[in-house]
Symmetry: D2
Subunit: 149 residues, 4 copies
């Protein structure tokens, strides 16, 4: 995949750094390539549910962000990634110390970018697929930068 | 709709009370009826993104829980609601002081329960639909209560 | 809802009339309003599966078209409705003589239109909800009418 | 993947052979392995839309069936595959002479089986991904074989 923005990696890292919610959860951006983004989420109280698994809603949030930044790596300079919709299927209980969400761009159009995201959990030394998603992203110029027209 | 568990409202409230993640976000359970659950989420730092809107991932989490408890109201005594999958479409920017997520059961089978969830935002004295979802729930006996077989 | 094209009903009917696949199945367009479209599909061999129910794939096709034309009623003159994605949940066996698919626009943006579609079956004198869907539509100018730029 | 039914391939082929709708469209079952099913759909009038592409609804139908039979290859003897829900994203115009839909099982539970389906089009000597889907299947004993209880 050929990125439209030569500084795509810097754009992704800068946008991720502004996400207060991710900082609060302790999510880490570990890899960015054209059409690819990998996030890691350590297990801990803010992302746990009552039975000691990763909380489904928090998995959904990390998955959404991984897909959004995979898409942003293929957007133009100055754009942000707006989630239009996504669908998430849970495959197995998310028990482990680390959640790894890998977003991949399937199609990078100018108006819409489609991504697939796989979420794996590392536990007992093994990686296990615990959720997978399909997502539609619209690359947009953020509100504050838009001209009055 | 006729609930299978006459104490459905108490079962929903007890399960909700055990959700640490919901307590942390300040989510409130405001209404439970057979096949219906309404949650309210006040705006604030834990659910905000950088532009002062409700964070998409947090909307997704509240929507998931609203649908799950609508489903649980139609499950049998002793069951919990396990999310199989859901699909969420974002309709408009979620700007306002209160998010209201209403989950409704469309079909209550013994094996699977299908729900629809609408998320509205109250801002400037008006309610506006900001997201809608379809969800599949499996009613299950929680791990700890399962027999060894 | 206020249509952008005053001749929206004529635009929908003309486009539907060009759909060979719908003619082949015997699908009828029975109602068009701003943001609404109702299709009827009589039961018969081309839409049946082996157990005498409506075929799931054929339900999906009719649902897709109902949502697309609900969206088209809110598009500009000269546009067609391109399906970006949809998600369909099956709720009950589709047994009966008539399938009625009702598409409703939830949000009509210039770039994307989001619809909800309910499919009911008429059998034994009763209407029963058998499937429901969420769909994203992109209004586009058809290929043949596009300028070379 | 280890199939539960040693005669899985025969079960898939027999069930596919009973699908009148597939025979009518000219769909071919070209490959069955544990957790995998590949269907081929030649282009022609029953699957065309007005601009000479594969019809979206017909792509959806073939995709649904490919996922269902991938799932059936992992079900028990005597079961059929019931589609609970699926979500389909369209990635590019489906122009070409052959549609190839590949269904793969992501998780094979006893109650639910989750599949991913990719649909490619062969045109101008190239394969191009035109749609992708996530699907939930419930393996069931067909109605006619169920005991009165």
């Amino acid at each position: 995949m050929t990125p439209r923005n030569p500084d795509f990696a810097q754009a992704v890292r800068a946008s991720f750094g502004r996400q207060g919610a991710m900082a609060h959860l302790g999510t880490r951006l570990v890899r960015v390539e054209p059409g690819l983004c990998v996030l890691e989420q350590p297990f801990g109280p803010p992302v746990a549910q009552q039975q000691g698994l990763f909380h489904g809603g928090m998995i959904a949030a990390v998955v959404d962000v991984a897909g959004g930044y995979a898409a942003l790596s293929m957007a133009e300079a100055g754009q942000e990634a707006l989630t239009v919709e996504y669908k998430l299927s849970f495959l197995s209980p998310a028990r482990g110390e680390l959640l790894v969400a890998t977003g991949r761009v399937l199609r990078a159009g100018r108006t819409l970018i489609v991504t697939r995201i796989d979420a794996e959990v590392l536990g007992d030394g093994q990686m296990k697929l615990c959720a997978t998603a399909l997502q539609t992203i619209m690359p947009v110029v953020p509100f504050a930068d838009r001209s009055p027209a």
